[in-house]
């Protein structure tokens, strides 16, 4: 240890400034600032536009930052909501059912499946997991036509289940959960088995409490998926459609609704960002185990 400190002093290596040059710092942080502005500017515009009175939205030349912030766009939105054919609370209820149902079911059944894949040995284990990894290699859009056919066959077309059930079996959630469970010590499970606990019991009282960061992560990722879904492929009844559908409908209203559309865009963006913010540390903890082994 003392030797180490001496070495460090001699070569002027300090832990934080290991191998760092000023020029390199300047270059990288400069690049970071430019790209950071590019990333954040559209979001800054979303916020500012939502707060702009209508005359500022149509100002020339356009200004990014609002001068006289107002909440009138949001109050206009509420007025408009009360006017819709289907009561607006219904859209909110639909979204709550679809996203909550999608999140809860996915977290539970993906965790149930992840536990044996992470901790048991049985025939077919590798092929099952390989299929899940393979499913992450193409997007769901590829399979949406046969999915539509299957959903019609199952008779769940035009119900919440048409959106919720496929979402339960998303591959990435199972993958992340399995990787996270693998790092739990086997001794934890062994001692419970010796005490005579069933697998079902072990899962609920030992595994699940220990993978809390992972189930929060699955829930958030699932929420992001479900939140953006307009359901237009599977839901025909207006009373079943989610909030996102009616919000996007409002933004398509053209010039007359530019102010309300700005408020809507703000809501669409703010909700998932808020959820991510709350769960950020759990998500980062889960992602440390996300790596693919060869």
């Amino acid at each position: 240890m003392a030797q180490n400190v001496k070495l460090r002093r001699r070569f002027r290596i300090r832990e934080k400034k290991l191998n760092r040059s000023m020029a390199g710092n300047a270059l990288l942080f400069g690049l970071m600032i430019v790209c950071g502005i590019f990333m954040v500017l559209p979001l800054v515009m979303v916020v500012n536009n939502a707060l702009k009175p209508i005359d500022e939205i149509f100002q020339f030349p356009p200004r990014i930052f609002v001068r006289n912030p107002t909440l009138s766009n949001f109050s206009d939105l509420f007025v408009l909501m009360n006017d819709t054919w289907v009561p607006f609370s219904r859209y909110i209820l639909n979204t709550a059912i679809i996203t909550l149902g999608g999140m809860l079911g996915h977290v539970i059944i993906a965790s149930l499946a992840a536990y044996p894949l992470a901790k048991h040995e049985f025939p077919g284990k590798n092929i099952l997991f390989y299929m899940v990894v393979l499913s992450m290699m193409f997007s769901w859009t590829v399979t949406q036509i046969p999915q539509y056919v299957i959903i019609s066959w199952l008779g769940i077309n035009n119900t919440y289940a048409a959106l919720v059930l496929p979402a339960w079996s998303f591959g990435m959630g199972l993958y992340l959960m399995k990787q996270f469970m693998e790092q739990l010590p086997d001794s934890l499970i062994e001692s419970a088995r010796i005490a005579g606990a069933s697998e079902w019991r072990i899962f609920w009282s030992i595994i699940m409490p220990n993978v809390k960061p992972a189930w929060l992560t699955l829930a958030i990722f699932q929420f992001q998926q479900m939140w953006g879904n307009t359901g237009s492929l599977f839901l025909r009844n207006e009373e079943l459609k989610p909030l996102q559908f009616s919000l996007l409908q409002i933004t398509a209203g053209g010039v007359a609704r530019a102010g309300v559309a700005a408020a809507v865009t703000f809501i669409i963006a703010a909700v998932p960002i808020t959820f991510f913010l709350i769960c950020q540390s759990s998500i980062m903890e889960t992602m440390t185990t996300s790596g693919m082994k060869e």
Binding site: L18, N19, R20, S21, M32, C35, M39, P42, L43, M45, V46, N49, F60, P61, P62, I64, I109, L112, A113, P116, K119, H120, E121, F122, P123, V133, S135, M137, T141, V142, T143, Q144, I145, P146, V149, I150, W168, S169, G171, L174, E190, E199, W200, F221, G228, L233, T265, A269, P272, I273, F276, S281, I283, M284, E285, M287, T288, S290, G291, M292
Partner: protein
């Protein structure tokens, strides 16, 4: 305890081992039943239907390779959309992958609070879902559009540019918007992976003669986070092949002279507008093979990082 130990020996007959592991299968059943219905079966059906003529009303009729022949030899728009999709993938795939890695790497140098803030800024666009509609305001074709407004004021252009109605501009602009959206799950995985790299390895490397941060990145950091690199690659590749929503929203479907058409917009055109499901399935099957093939290829390449 028995399930784990006995099956490892591998001496018992398969049926016994399956019976012993019945509780494992039971736990997995709900997930894999749904997985079968909504992922495995659709892929198989897509391949099957691609050899048929199918309009949802009458039963599918087998027509052999006709859909594929028509796609590759007669359908000019498919060739355009294939070309666009490959351009998207070849440009946004590697660039977004590289940017994910670069920003994760730089952000990792900051203190935890700042790190969390920067992570949010770079990751936020990819989770805002349909909020990319804000680009409509930026790209509005008259002088009220933000981009036109700024460029006019700076005298870079003399008159407003119709960004989403000019054939040559559609694809480059969509690529920029796609890059804005693309720092997603892969980016988070890289950030997390960087934090798992053992700090002691950097000190050891410094003593071994690693001189600057670039060498450190190549010889220490990247090999240590190879599993995350592979996961991130899957995420970015899949995303870069699946561009469709932004094209449909910003450029329209069909876009001017199909300049913004991608394989998925073409698929949607046949699948949900013309209800030619057999043909749409052939398009889907080709896209499926492209995505999985590219992923497999890149996985093979990534195994060589730092070797």
């Amino acid at each position: 305890m028995t399930t784990a130990k006995l099956s490892k020996t591998g001496r018992e007959p398969l049926s016994r081992r399956i019976w012993k592991a019945r509780s494992s299968y039971l736990l997995m059943a709900p997930y894999f039943i749904l997985f079968f219905f909504f992922t495995v079966l659709p892929v198989l059906m897509s391949v099957g239907l691609s050899f048929t003529h199918f309009n949802m009303l009458e039963p599918p009729e087998f027509i052999g390779w006709q859909n594929y022949i028509k796609l590759l030899l007669e359908d000019d728009i498919f060739i355009i959309s294939l070309k666009n999709t490959l351009l998207f993938a070849v440009i946004t795939g590697p660039i977004s992958y590289f940017l994910c890695l670069l920003f994760a790497w730089i952000i990792n140098e900051f203190k935890p609070k700042m790190r969390a803030f920067l992570t949010l800024i770079f990751y936020a666009p990819s989770i805002t879902g349909n909020a990319y509609i804000v680009w409509n305001l930026i790209l509005t074709g008259d002088r009220y559009g933000y981009l036109n407004g700024i460029l006019l004021r700076l005298d870079i252009i003399n008159e407003a540019v119709l960004w989403m109605k000019t054939e040559n501009l559609i694809l480059p602009v969509l690529i920029v918007v796609q890059l804005w959206l693309s720092l997603g799950t892969g980016f988070l995985a890289f950030l997390a992976g960087l934090q798992t790299v053992d700090k002691g390895m950097y000190e050891a490397a410094a003593i071994d003669g690693v001189k600057n941060r670039w060498q450190e990145l190549w010889f220490v950091t990247l090999p240590a986070m190879r599993p995350q690199l592979m996961f991130g690659a899957v995420m970015q590749i899949t995303m870069s092949f699946a561009v469709a929503d932004i094209s449909i929203y910003l450029a329209g479907n069909p876009s001017v002279n199909y300049a913004g058409a991608t394989i998925i917009t073409h698929l949607l055109d046949y699948g949900s507008t013309r209800l030619d499901m057999g043909y749409a399935s052939a398009i889907a099957t080709i896209l499926f093979l492209l995505m999985v093939g590219t992923n497999k290829l890149v996985q093979r390449l990534l195994r060589r990082v730092g070797n």
